[in-house]
């Protein structure tokens, strides 16, 4: 299960989503600017408030960190 926590104005979030789609990875997207509960959850799992945050099978990656994401998703 892959979840992306994002905001609508964040270009890096958009690049991340495109990257996953290009690689055929399905993900759930959460707009944290519209959902306070999910924002709290994002802050809790990542320990910070910057977007994007991506959760891959319980592993949390902050930012579009391609190397870590590739490693976790075996891209």
């Amino acid at each position: 299960m892959v979840t992306i926590y994002s905001t609508p104005t964040c270009v890096y979030c958009k690049s991340l989503k495109e990257y996953l789609s290009q690689n055929g990875i399905q993900f759930k997207e959460i707009d944290v600017s519209q959902n306070e509960k999910e924002l709290e959850k994002m802050v809790q799992i990542s320990g910070q408030m910057g977007v994007p945050v991506i959760e891959i099978e319980g592993n949390v990656v902050i930012g579009f960190d391609k190397q870590k994401i590739d490693e976790l998703l075996k891209i």
Binding site: T7, T9, V11, K14, V32, S33, G47, Q48, M49, G50
Partner: protein
């Protein structure tokens, strides 16, 4: 494989260099951490780029991506940490070796550095500790998270004002803290900010520290005129005090000025190392504008093409 050209960076200068080089049918590798550079973080619309009456940063980045694709250009997401030029022992020019943080080494006949600039830090206690925990360098990315909150924008230049204007769509109150006694933002931005009741400008404010527990709770500044300290309760601090050039990986291959900007030949965008060109905000050029970075990128690509043709023959 040896590429004809490696372009380091994919902001306006890098994109423009790529498009021009692609039209010369060169083999090209673009290495960059992201696409769009500072354009991707631009908090208000761009209204001074020819052909576009008004376009947002993210929309322009999307067009960049489409144009790259149309020219069969791909960006390798990586970070360059070092460059060297091979010695050949004769009069022939050596190739460039580009090392990246992921441990890869790429080789090319010519290089264009369009690495741009990164956000300057305030360098005060609490800034690093609370980075991502209320301290942000991208209001466009993180601003919407601060809905209904109180924030400070550090820096009274155009970036600070534009950031405050964007944040005013979401937050309850914004303080702009400016170190000098006047703000440097241009007239248009000043007029827009003046109309926004949520924004309060505080000049003569030298940021002293950022404090909080898990997240930012306050920012303290010294009034440089009176010497007294004042603390503002804020949930977020957006740092907008400008950019410093990303030229640390060039290891003596170029001459830098005191701001660490690359000194180049204005006619060709060549640096002191043959085959190494530079364009955009990493350069000494006085005005840092999208249109100027794009122009320099084009010029550097055409110069690089001539160099590659000469060197390979």
């Amino acid at each position: 494989m040896t590429y004809d050209l490696i372009i380091i960076g994919a902001g306006p200068a890098g994109i423009s260099a790529g498009v021009y080089a692609a039209r010369q049918k060169l083999s090209i590798l673009i290495i960059s951490k992201d696409i769009g550079g500072q354009v991707a973080k631009k908090a208000v619309d761009i209204e001074n780029y020819p052909g576009f009456e008004k376009i947002s940063g993210p929309d322009l980045v999307e067009l960049y991506q489409k144009q790259l694709k149309a020219n069969d250009l791909f960006v390798t997401q990586d970070e360059v940490i070092g460059i060297e030029k091979q010695e050949t022992g004769d009069k022939k020019q050596g190739n460039f070796l580009v090392r990246t943080i992921s441990g890869k080494i790429y080789e090319a006949v010519s290089l264009i550095v369009t690495s741009g600039a990164k956000s300057k830090l305030i360098n005060v206690p609490g800034e690093e500790e609370f980075s991502g925990k209320g301290v942000s360098y991208c209001s466009l990315c993180d601003g919407p998270i601060f809905k209904g909150k109180i924030v400070a924008v550090v820096g009274g230049g155009n970036n600070g004002f534009e950031s405050a204007l964007f944040l005013s769509n979401y937050v309850k109150k914004i303080y702009i803290l400016e170190y000098s006694d006047i703000v440097k933002a241009d007239q248009e931005n000043q007029e827009l900010v003046a109309k926004e009741s949520k924004i309060e400008i505080i000049t003569n404010a030298r940021v002293a520290r950022i404090e909080g527990e898990k997240f930012v709770k306050s920012i303290t500044y010294e009034d440089v005129k009176s010497g007294s300290e004042k603390t503002l309760e804020v949930n977020g601090v957006f740092v907008e005090i400008g950019y410093s050039p990303a030229t640390y990986f060039l290891n003596g291959l170029v001459d830098l000025n005191e701001k660490k900007e690359i000194i180049f030949d204005t006619a060709t965008l060549a640096t002191k190392t043959p085959g190494l060109f530079s364009a955009g905000d990493c350069n000494v050029s006085k005005y840092k504008q999208i249109v100027m970075a794009s122009g320099e990128g084009a010029k550097a690509a055409l110069s690089a093409y001539e160099y590659i043709k000469r060197t390979k023959n």
